[in-house]
Symmetry: C2
Subunit: 534 residues, 2 copies
Amino acid sequence: MEGNKPMATPPGVSPADFDAAIAQLADVVGADWVFTDEETMDTYRDAYSPLRGEEEEKYASAAVAPTTVEEVRQIVRIANRYSIPLYTISTGRNLAYGGSAPVYSGSVVLDLKRMNRILEVDEDLAYALVEPGVSYFDLYRHIRERGVKLWIDCPDPGWGSLIGNALERGAGRTPLPYRDHFGAHCGMEVVLGNGDVLRTGMGALPEAGPNWQAFPYGAGPLADGLFAQSNYGIVTKMGFWLMPEPEASMTGAIRARRHDDIIPLVRMLAHLQYAGIVNCLFSLNSPVFQSPMDARKSALLDRADGGSAAEWDDYAGSLGTHFWETRLRFYGPLNVIEAQWEHVKARLGTIEGVELTDGDVMRFPLTDDQIRRLGDPATFGVPSLSVFTSQAGTTGHLDASPMLPHSGEALLEAHKVYLREYRDAGVPMTLGFAMSYHTRAFIMFQGINLTLDQEENARARALYERLIRVSGDRGWGIYRAHAAFMDQLMATYSYNDHALMRFNETLKDALDPNGILSAGRYGIWPRHLRGSRA
Amino acid sequence: MEGNKPMATPPGVSPADFDAAIAQLADVVGADWVFTDEETMDTYRDAYSPLRGEEEEKYASAAVAPTTVEEVRQIVRIANRYSIPLYTISTGRNLAYGGSAPVYSGSVVLDLKRMNRILEVDEDLAYALVEPGVSYFDLYRHIRERGVKLWIDCPDPGWGSLIGNALERGAGRTPLPYRDHFGAHCGMEVVLGNGDVLRTGMGALPEAGPNWQAFPYGAGPLADGLFAQSNYGIVTKMGFWLMPEPEASMTGAIRARRHDDIIPLVRMLAHLQYAGIVNCLFSLNSPVFQSPMDARKSALLDRADGGSAAEWDDYAGSLGTHFWETRLRFYGPLNVIEAQWEHVKARLGTIEGVELTDGDVMRFPLTDDQIRRLGDPATFGVPSLSVFTSQAGTTGHLDASPMLPHSGEALLEAHKVYLREYRDAGVPMTLGFAMSYHTRAFIMFQGINLTLDQEENARARALYERLIRVSGDRGWGIYRAHAAFMDQLMATYSYNDHALMRFNETLKDALDPNGILSAGRYGIWPRHLRGSRA
């Protein structure tokens, strides 16, 4: 029953108890859906592990795949009975953040991929209610086959779970509020650590019907936020607001010449976003900061002030490039989006030398042929796996992306700080630009490629830890971390001598007293394992 | 030290302990800011109490008004020491929902009105960080005096606290997302039941700076939702996103003739709202349903089907009126809002016989003189007390407002159900229309006037309890209740044999083990008082 990987059974659980638990799990879901064999368990390893081949790599001891909420409840009861640590995954596609491998070695993966029912899609009220195993592909096909005039919002790879991605605070590429997947949810069903089933918001009314997905707050305190990036329960249903298919879309391209142009550019774009005139995802690219490192750039970064605006402008001149560029996309009725872009041009045109170029117009719905030819399908709510074509030669990557306030000054400083860190670590920076995923903050996108070379991966890990510290020290919090670094990440959220973690642990003890749910996720360990933290 | 009202000291606290606690509170805040005298304590009674003059009216035993977070922490420690129940208010203006009176008689009011610092207003990042005692008037004056080009969103009376209103899930009159006060907050500071101080979201990074108000989620679980409509902590700071002052505003009026026109009208308005084309507050009025009750209307309501569309249309004809009306307001650059209204007219024009009338254009900023002459100042982010002029002859009111999904069918049913209930109770319905406060749901506004007549008030209370039950049974949850009815309200949120309340109580025991914080708010009682629930 046990694989031969290190830590392949739950620590502290006797072989007899483990066998008894496995047998009882098989009674609940059927023997075909409890896995302990090495070949299957190998599929639950983290495909992008920065610890691949290292002693510290995390392994699951077994996996169990239920199909109903009642089965989940029974599994939770068995886990409580034998102190079996469970580790919940939806579809297990949380790549770059741990995939389907547990944070705590020896955990039994609670794999919800078979709970894949699309329970409701309401075109008028524009929402979907789904189970954790439903992927973006699943929901997209369901909607397209029925001719429903709604768009989904999907992250770059479309095979992940809507619920899993939202709980990890993932984001996609269509307008706000839809691309903030947690923000666009409404209503949850959760199995708690004691096996109780909770419905949040209006779902606590037995006859709520569509009101469950219409009003997120219900009455009294709202617990939804507790179930994201945590281990207080197992989310078994979740509602998502969907975007009505727009009539049209058009783009406008923006180029600004100088280092300091980012300051008015961000100030104006931010206010346009706060006023709902710009609500697309845009990425602020810098051909200067994103160009390959060279001696002159390196020397500028080493100046006490990180290089003056004039020096950087001079350097940009030597590269023969403008300093900043972005592209906005507008979605909606053609007359409205034309007016929006016209207004944006009038506002941004006050930046000296800025270039503002009209883009193409697209009309919806797209034909199957148009969809096949899209270069950026997620921008139109179409899931794909095309992002993986850009990752040849690597064995995965890490993502250490801090949040930045909407401030050009902060962006300038962040570019310089992080370029120095990558350079000093001897690791090539991938990505390296800010994206407007959220309502009021940028994600500074920074990747670290992983390879088959153990030394390179050790450097990658050291840089990751350094980026967590540097970001935390400057208040540019990283919002999501790979499982191997969750403790370090949460240690930076240390206000008032780690009041947040004390609070999180108080909740953990109350909601999961036996500590059976996803030990270690986001630094939250059950009481009996707190001593084992690094 | 004690008033002569019933229950004027905390039950179960000895006079000696109470005196000791009061003396220690005076040591913390100064003797001038601890109140036990009858005259002052009278000001903490609920001015709109439906129990005024009844034995069950709730009274506080004392009040204490700190100025700093550190003083709040010390007060919490004293309360823990002597088992003194505290009841937190911000400015105490929660009228129609309990005002400044406690849910549990004998509580000591923790009055935060002196914590009234506006800690930050950032024009570029468009946010404010405030303490609980800051009122809408305070923030408005601060912004206007400095010429900051931001609007606040305020509820109808402007004297309330931003924090108090947001925690009660109040809403105002400017565009989404700003008018959803809880939804537009970003970052909290909370004193917990054990005296610990927590900062949520990015605030848990010691150097967060503006990022605290830029990104709401931080990393790991987010607790903010727990501190709304609850008693798990004392919120001492909160950030709010503010709306950039728009260039202009214009309105468009809509009239639809027939009973069933509400079905396509709501369907279209909902999708326009989900697409961000309509984001104003609008109220769906019916001159037919809101007309005075008469024999013919009463007979229609008594039909098994609540009256057919044709019968209601015939009745509307007899009144000589159209069936539905509303007015949309657009805020933004003139060319954009003109395009939006043009698009709305094209869509809604497909409803046979609909009238669509252009309104006036206003340009911002308004002059002081224009502001003085505004009939609906909150619509432009200007706080006032003008709402009170419409309430002559009453001694206050109750508000029993359910949430409805965006469905014309649900609106039709709700009008008929509630008109019957008011008629059968012999209580005149005030208000009686749906408003688009929230992103995906209407609030069906229904008031019940209170008077000096005890029998009338008894009827008002009986109707209120009946409305809670009727609404809950149909899944049209009431989102907010007067303190006297919180237990009944929360009892309707009963999915899975009251799983939500079991969960809420588990949190209460963990976060406030001595049960000193706002006992009974939203039906959440500390363990030692649970037996006393009705």
